[in-house]
């Protein structure tokens, strides 16, 4: 339960009410909390998954979408390994805001951060953003793309597993032997060099 090989920080961003918290809850606790209130500031969850017989620990920081918390949420981008940018496929404005979010990510997050675009709420009938539009947008901006439903649990597991796998691949490729605070890349927690590096 604690002998994980990798620790990755994943941060979810996107407009208020697109379902960030629900995605996290669905993934970490397997439930869909109806009537979930707006997140205040930042929420934190942890989940350990197994990728190819290796344990990977995901620290998931779920940020508030509301504008007024922008200052605190931005401070969490910096150390993220992966950023999940979420929009609501049934709500055009949440999609229109994506360029703003990207600009913010550019400004505050590490340049090597893994970026994933997620269109949430595919269980709804009143879709406003066709899949293709989302796909094209993701392609243009060099992001992964996935459509999910936290309610129906569609693609949620796949989303996080994909991220874990990708980050692990990255980590293996770069093969950073030790945690480097100036380079918020991947963080293979090496068992023998003490345990402190896992505290990050």
């Amino acid at each position: 339960m604690d002998d994980y090989k990798f620790l990755f920080k994943v941060v979810l961003v996107g407009n208020a009410g697109v379902g960030k918290t629900c995605l996290v809850r669905r993934f970490t606790q397997g439930l869909f909390p109806p009537g979930q209130g707006a997140t205040i500031g930042v929420d934190f969850m942890i989940k350990t998954v197994e990728v190819g017989n290796e344990k990977v620990k995901l620290q998931i920081w779920d940020t508030a979408g509301q504008e007024r918390f922008r200052s605190i949420t931005q401070s969490y981008y910096r150390s993220a390994h992966a950023l999940i940018l979420v929009y609501d496929i049934s709500c055009q404005p949440t999609f229109d805001c994506l360029p703003d979010w990207l600009r913010e990510i550019e400004e505050y997050a590490s340049s090597k951060v893994l970026r994933v675009l997620v269109g949430n709420k595919i269980d709804r009938d009143d879709r406003e953003i066709p899949t293709q539009v989302g796909e094209e947008f993701a392609e243009r901006h060099n992001m992964y793309f996935l459509e999910t439903s936290a309610k129906e649990s569609d693609n949620v597991e796949r989303l996080f597993m994909q991220i874990a796998e990708d980050l692990m691949k990255q980590a293996r490729m770069t093969n950073v032997p030790r945690y480097d605070p100036n380079n918020y890349n991947v963080d293979p927690a090496s068992q023998d060099s003490g345990c402190c590096s896992r505290l990050n």
Partner: protein, 800 residues
Amino acid sequence: MALNYGMNLILGCCGCCSAFRPRYKRLVDSIFPVYPQDGLVKSNMEKLTFYSLSSPEKLDRIGEYLYQRAAREIYRKKYGFVIIAMEAMDQLLLACHAPTLNLFVESFLKMVQKLLESTEPDLQILATQSFVKFANIEEDTPSYHRRYDFFVSKFSAMCHSGDTKDVRDKIRTAGIKGLQAVVRKTVSDDLVENIWEPVHMDKIVPSLLFNMQDSSFHKEPPHGDTIPEDSVDPPMLAETCMRELVGRASFGHIRAVLKPVLRHFDLHKSWVPNEFAIHTFRIIMFSIQAQYSYTVVETLMDHLDENAKSSPTIRTSIAEVLSKIIAIAAGESVGPSVLEIINSLLNHLRDSVKNGTIQAEERQYQEALINALGEFANHLPDYQKIEIMMFIMSKIPFPLVDNQTPADNMLQSILLKSLLKVGTKYQTIHFNTTFPVSFLEPLLRMSLAPDPEMRLLVQKIFHTLLDRHGNLEKLHKPTLNIVDSDLNVEKSSRPDLIFINKHGPTIYDALYTSLQMDSNTPDNIEAIYTTLGLLCVELASTETVIDLLQLLLGIQNLALNSTTLSYAQKFNLHALVISLLVLISDVMNIQSLSDYSSRLIEARREEASYCLPEMLTQYPAHCESISKMPHLLVDQMAVCEYLKASGIDPSRLAQTSPYGAGGPGAIAGSQRHSWMEAGARGSIMEIPSVHEVDSAASSPGVTRKLPEEGLSFESMKKVLSEPPEIRKESEAEKRKQISHTFRTATFSELVRLTQPKHDLLQNKLNEIFKSLTTAESSSTTDDPKKLSKCEESFPELFYY
């Protein structure tokens, strides 16, 4: 899972057989009871503690093993055992000392993190408590590789907990305490993690503010004056933590704290209304190390810069916050930082004026800035106030010509308002310190500004700076019953008399000139009454009185002879003269003069009540000039008599007044040669005479001799052929130029301008004196001759 886990243990190959287990493991196992609700087995815990003390090299293994047990219990959701494991770790941590502690701490922190990662609020709170305990112990060897960003991140997240009310407060409290602990742990040691990095501060500061603003900060603390350390009220705790954080910040770190504060206010729209912002900044100002407090002011001012495009309401709010805290900074500000702050405030004012829009909000913003300036100045020592006033003065745009843009005008009046604000905070002791020449001169020059509003402001500045004995209220309006108002008069000191001897003429002259302005309102004239009244009260001496009376007669002449002033203005001037006469005789306690003025008042009341206060802008049509009724006027000879009778030498007064029609002759016989030498007289003489020309020029039938008008055939032809409008225009232009020169040129320039003429005049006079066979020279009798002689040689100097 448990089995799988056991395989990973370093020594254990058989997790179930306790007999072969190492001693430390058996000791650890023995502290756990069968049922978690029984709590830690105390006696066994003592054994474990003793063991780890006697063989500290095992401490790291004990820690690791405890951690693993706890992790297993968390997984099984047997939280009772987790709590026991944590308790045991706490006890070991406190019981054991360095140097082996370092390794134990690693597993200890791992344990804390593990608990924080769980979703169980109780475990999170427990973990925080343990972390606080850890933060409070002293480690003698720093651990360079230990990082705290998980803790900062997690504690900040806890500060924003959105659980149900009860749990929420507990978690938030824990989060704040955790942050406080991290700060305490890291702040003192430069070698460990730098907590002041933006990456941390951007989390800590908003988290604290978020909790603070949630509160009822304006309410009184619930019980008594002291806030208990373990208060469960998150806002209170956050505030305490904020104070601590700010208090520990060194110069280089202040901005790291302030930036997120400002951002937070921007994002949470806490500027309007600004109670919370004021509250927070007060906290910051009171907790910050005093020598850095001006940095806060600076930062806030920079923020104002950044908000230049925001709505005026936001800027007003920020400026208000500034004015609320600026006083706290003032006490500590020294040297250049003071002027920097003032300069910055003035720049903001200027920018605001340049924006041009004259909205109510924009004006409020300017008011707020001026208030801030006043507040700041209020808390500075007096000698700095003078400096500041001079500084502001230097920022007022010159020249004061008529064709200014409205923005210039507005800026001038706003700066004057700021000056007034600072001035009201200043307590004059000696006039020569209050009015250094470099301050007095520009101020006098400003008193001749074309805009009557501005002149009024300047007079108000004079009032507040002149009034040392609280007489301002009593002298606010011209009155004839000054005796009733019980003036507070004190004998003036020598330095003051020296001051007035030196600068009096310049001051009187400026006042006199400003009375000649045809744009004066009764307010302007009343303000001048107040200024003169204050001068009289503050500097009562025989010398001053003569000067003042001389000025009074000059003013009366002006009222009689001026052709530019309206009737109303002339009546106002008469009222001014008589009320000042009353005041002077009262202050100097000259009974005969007092009686004389009473008689005059009586007479005027009967025949020309419009020549008494109250001053009006409009008088009934039937009022006519009192020049035809000499018995209503202040008579020079009479005044001289009364003065002589009360033992004051009126000889100076008997001479021709330097104001108005008086020529250089008045000086020739004057005892005060110093005036001439100082050159001050020159300007005094010239400015009135310019205006005399003005009035002469506009009245028909008077011969004019404007310098460019030679008496050639050409010019005569021109006079005849040209329509009179053109000529009038050119005259007006000329007049404007002259008055412009005198209003804008610096004092020394004026001196230079006028000095040589006097030299020439002096030479000429000497020549004449020599050539005259009658050796004794009584200046009064010689005057016409001299003048005519001079006029021949220097027609441009003499227009009459």
